[in-house]
């Protein structure tokens, strides 16, 4: 395990040489091929508590543990042709930045707060899970140079945090992508190896199939029972809220797609991942539980049916594998956990730099006028931020230790912070009429209605329960997602469809002498109502959401300025062509051209233009001013050595491209090696 961790740390740190600026640090320079991103997503998607959690569900309920890996396709059209091109072409570097462009700075501020809370909490949960997974495999104490060090959960977490923090801090997104790529392969291999050895252990495939009861073989859970694992609740929590959250709100995953060389490569990475890699991952993470059930049916004395589900992964792996293989499988498990955490740290640093650091620098006018100096300062700040976020993640572990299970801690965060953001993004992208008043009230009003639902589940959530029995200890743990989504969507619809009434009221306020005091009263009332509800002051609490939902749109309309035409151009699905034109800076050239092979020569200038021959330009169907992607010919590099640039004036030397020293350094091109050129747009 120690060798594994050190190898991964050195491997990740090596890729620090590919990080020259913040674009490289966060987006890997927007250069990679779809296959490289697909494999690197495996470790991120499978990561965190998947092995433990899905093996447990596989042991308790069978193949239906795979449900959450096979229900992400429904929102793919929205993602591939809506959200993905918008975030790439609008050149936003974080989800909150989209909120400022599409709505206003207040929406960005609220989105930043919600996302940072969510992601730092998520990192904390990741560290907690890592610690819990590693602790059973460690001795009670280490003896180093005569000093005895007791092993504790928090000490293990700190050591893991230091290792993870080091390679992210120095390597950035390229390091994350390449370590995740390596860990993705290890993960898939280890999962299938365990499955194959386990099937041989129980007597072959037919014996394994025959040992499982019918209900364990069914791929979907029972419709509405038990309350701890039912189909309909998981459908709304995972297939709807989870899938939209995964594709639209997961900054780490989005940054991975944004690291692809173009939008179409991002689409390919998403499609291959969801269609083929996720079903394979479902087997990888769940098979230990299925094997555990088969072994317990075959020999209850080897695995008792009463075995704790959370321990089944380790129990099965230790029974069916030899000690060396067991160590390898455990290393793969830890790899999965680490991959989720590294992605989250890098993504959270991206949000902090983009949505806190830059606005603050702008406010205090401390931004450098020279772009290279600014980028250097930002890269340094990004590295410091990664360290600080890693530390904040470790500290947040203290808040989660009190939850009875990691799953509950994770569920608490997911169900509370996901629906308002998911609904806000979705309505913002697909509905032009959705305004700042709508989005801010969806954030604040959605949160207060969710709090009310959590306090009175039998009154508010039961109408949505589909016959699921309420467990008083954890009421409606899954189906509450449907209630949360409905209230957030409901608030957004209500505010948007009543905007003419709000405008009429604000016009009246502006035309009357008492306007300012009236608005002060409204603002104070809404603020007090919001905080009373959040801090649990229960007197008249059912009225607080009404005050928030009625007053917040008025406050936003009165104090804010919003031009719908300007705010939606290129930022909704209705204007993707405008987004593309804005990305290029002129009308995109959609003619289909060839990819060509060229040798490069150096020019002594610092213009960001590359020069091809007239004939090569014609073969690529390109014109001066179009965007071009140049990469090393070796496909297995996956775009690691590549650049984006612009076509300059052509020359007559066929098969040659002139680039400058910056291009060569940034693309890490090797002298004498051929390049492949293709028109981007």
């Amino acid at each position: 395990m120690v060798v594994y961790f050190l190898t991964i740390m050195l491997f990740g740190t090596y890729f620090g040489r590919y990080t020259k600026d913040t674009s490289d640090f966060f987006f890997g320079g927007r250069r990679f091929s779809w296959w490289l991103i697909t494999m690197s997503i495996v470790a991120t998607g499978v990561g965190s508590h998947s092995f433990v959690k899905y093996s447990a569900k596989g042991f308790e309920h069978g193949f239906s543990s795979s449900m959450t890996y096979l229900n992400d396709w429904f929102f793919v059209p929205f993602f591939m042709f809506g959200w993905l091109p918008i975030i790439v072409y609008s050149k936003v570097r974080s989800i909150p930045e989209y909120f400022e462009k599409r709505f206003n700075p207040s929406a960005r501020f609220l989105a930043t707060v919600l996302l940072l809370l969510y992601m730092i909490g998520y990192i904390g949960i990741g560290f907690l899970t890592l610690g819990k997974a590693v602790i059973p495999m460690l001795p009670e104490a280490f003896h180093i140079f005569g000093i005895t060090m007791d092993v504790s959960l928090m000490r293990a977490i700190v050591v893991i945090a230091v290792i993870t923090g080091v390679y992210i801090t120095f390597g950035g997104q390229t390091a994350v992508i390449f370590t995740d790529l390596l860990q993705g392969f290890i993960l898939i291999f280890a999962g299938f190896m365990l499955f194959a050895i386990g099937i041989a252990y129980v007597g072959g495939g037919q014996a394994f199939w025959d040992l499982l009861p019918t209900t364990w073989k069914l791929p979907l859970a029972n419709f509405n029972e038990p309350s701890s694992f039912n189909f309909v609740g998981i459908f709304w929590q995972d297939a709807v809220a989870g899938s939209v959250g995964f594709l639209f709100m997961n900054q780490g995953l989005l940054m991975r797609f944004m690291a692809c060389k173009n939008v179409n490569e991002g689409r390919k990475a998403a499609a291959i991942n969801i269609l083929f890699v996720l079903p394979l991952s479902a087997v990888v993470v769940g098979n230990a539980g299925w094997l555990g059930k088969a072994i317990s049916t075959l020999s209850p004395d080897i695995i008792s049916p009463n075995t704790s589900p959370d321990e089944i992964f380790v129990v099965v792996a230790s029974i069916v594998t030899s000690p060396g293989v067991f160590g390898f499988v455990m290393a793969a498990l830890t790899a999965a956990l680490m991959s989720t955490v590294d992605t989250l740290i890098n993504a959270t640093a991206a949000i902090f730099i983009n949505d806190v650091y830059r606005p603050l620098m702008k406010y205090f006018r401390k931004s450098h006028s020279d772009s290279k100096a600014r980028d250097k300062a930002e890269l340094f700040a990004a590295r410091l931020t990664s360290i600080a976020i890693t530390a904040a993640g470790v500290l947040s572990v203290f808040a989660f230790v009190q939850f009875p299970t990691v799953y509950e801690a994770h569920g608490y965060f997911h169900s509370t912070l996901t629906p308002p953001l998911v609904v806000a993004i979705f309505m913002g992208v697909f509905w032009k009429k959705f305004s700042p008043a709508g989005v801010i009230t969806t954030f604040l009003g959605g949160v207060v209605l969710m709090i009310i639902g959590a306090r009175y589940p039998e009154m508010f959530i039961s109408p949505f329960d589909h016959g699921i029995e309420m467990n008083p200890n954890r009421p409606y743990s899954y189906i509450r997602a449907l209630y949360n989504l409905v209230v957030c969507v409901g608030v957004g619809l209500f505010v948007t469809y009543t905007s003419s009434l709000q405008n009429r009221f604000i016009t009246w306020v502006r035309n009357t002498n008492k306007g300012q005091p009236v608005m002060m009263l409204i603002t104070t009332s809404a603020t007090i109502a919001f905080f009373l509800l959040v801090f649990g002051i229960t007197t008249f609490e059912l009225f607080y959401p009404v005050i928030v939902i009625l007053f917040v749109p008025l406050i936003v309309t009165y104090f804010g300025h919003y031009d719908e035409e300007l705010a939606t151009n290129g930022l909704t699905v209705w204007s993707i062509a405008a987004a593309k034109a804005s990305f290029k800076g002129s009308t995109p050239n959609e003619q289909l051209g060839e990819k060509i092979e060229v040798k490069f020569k150096l020019l002594d200038n610092d213009f960001d233009k590359v020069l091809f021959s007239k004939n090569d330009l014609s073969r690529m169907a390109a014109e001066v001013g179009d965007l071009v992607y140049l990469s090393d010919k070796r496909k297995w590099l996956g775009g690691l050595k590549s650049i984006h640039s612009e076509y300059g004036e052509p020359h007559d030397e066929e098969g040659v491209v002139y680039i400058n020293r910056d291009h060569m350094d940034h693309g890490l091109f090797d002298e004498g090696k051929s390049l492949i050129a293709e028109k981007e747009m």
Binding site: N71, F74, V76, P77, M80, F81, L218, P219, L220
Partner: protein, 69 residues
């Protein structure tokens, strides 16, 4: 039918309600012009969308049939 609430009822719900989201998405990206069926690679993506929907229906359907046999 034995196991109905554990097999075909969730299946119908998944691809019924999920299908509403899926086909709404296909319609919206087509209606807004985000996917342009005059372009060959966009036509390919449209085919992949429907293939994906059928692919997951087939996986769940076949597993259910085999489990109930």
């Amino acid at each position: 039918m034995e196991y109905f609430s554990h097999s075909w009822l969730p299946y119908i719900y998944l691809y019924g309600i999920g299908g509403i989201f899926f086909f709404s998405g296909v319609y919206i990206v087509w209606r807004t012009g985000a996917i342009d069926l005059k372009k060959p690679h966009h036509r390919m993506w449209m085919k992949i969308f429907f293939f994906g929907y059928a692919w997951f229906m087939a996986i769940h359907g076949l597993l259910t049939i085999f489990a109930l046999r």
